[in-house]
Amino acid sequence: MIHKRSLKEKTIDYLLYIATFSGINFIAGSVVHALDYSLYNYILLFVGSVLTPSALLIRELMLNKNPINRDFWGSFGINLVLSISAGCITGGIIHLGENSLFSWYLVISGFIMSFATAMLYKTKPFLPAVLDYILWIAMFSGMSFISGSVVHAANDWFNNFLLIAFGAILTPAAILLRNKLILGKQTALGKNFLILLVLSLGVSGVTGGIIHFTKNMSYATILIVGGFILSYLAALHKNDGSLAELRSR
């Protein structure tokens, strides 16, 4: 029998989810905007570095009631490196029009770092591990293309429109293929994909608004407030399991 979660459980799960992924987005965002050399950027890097491990620790201790051992820190480190590297790849692609040389540097170094991590810590044979890596990056990137384009929509809507369309096809296709080829389970794409899509849009609205706050304050405020409402409403629709399962590796 599926345990239906109460409003309190859903809210705690949502707060831990947004803290975990906001921290990752803050770190990736501060790396992508490294050439700004602003104090605000360094603060974001520090906040992100504290926020993600804290939220994950609280989740393990409070919700999952798991002991904190070496394995926990090991998988935490791998996921952190993979997520930040993937954030650098998509951040680099989204910012290609601003500083193409630095953006390509981000894309290539993000790919090298994430691929090296995935291959060093692979638990499958080489080819399935490569396929798993490609599909995971595709899922993550598709979502980031959509959310990143919404964040940059105030500056350059038409160039971003293509990325939104590409991301909207890439993510469900990657989830579909990953479930079928890697995890070998039935694909329940409809509701979970919609929750993940709206949740990611909302969380990226919040984090993108905070990251770009100094560039366009009025648009950033709309993004932060709208993002909170959107992501919380999406989180309330997840009745079983936790939100983190939607984008776990």
Partner: protein
């Protein structure tokens, strides 16, 4: 056990590349740093320009809208020319 060291090495190379990239971005291709020209240098350059072109400073104030004799002759020739008709 060796895996974290490999990753740290790759990260170190990427950060080193980032620092090198930053230095490269702020310098000319010939290795000299970008520097805005000083006010004195700009002024000196402006005063030297007439001597480089071999023009006397008084020549620069001449009314260039007044046509010379040869120019007047040429204009006259154009005026008298009949248009071609079919």
């Amino acid at each position: 056990m060796y895996k974290p060291f490999i990753l740290t090495g790759i990260l170190g190379l990427i950060i080193y590349g980032g620092v090198w990239f930053n230095v490269f971005e702020n310098t000319h291709a010939d290795g000299h740093e970008h520097a805005a020209p000083t006010h004195e240098a700009v002024e000196k350059n402006n005063t030297n320009e007439s001597s480089v072109l071999n023009i006397e400073p008084s020549e620069l104030n001449k009314d260039i809208t007044t046509p010379t004799k040869s120019e007047q002759k040429e204009e006259k020739h154009v005026d008298t020319a009949k248009p071609h008709g079919h």
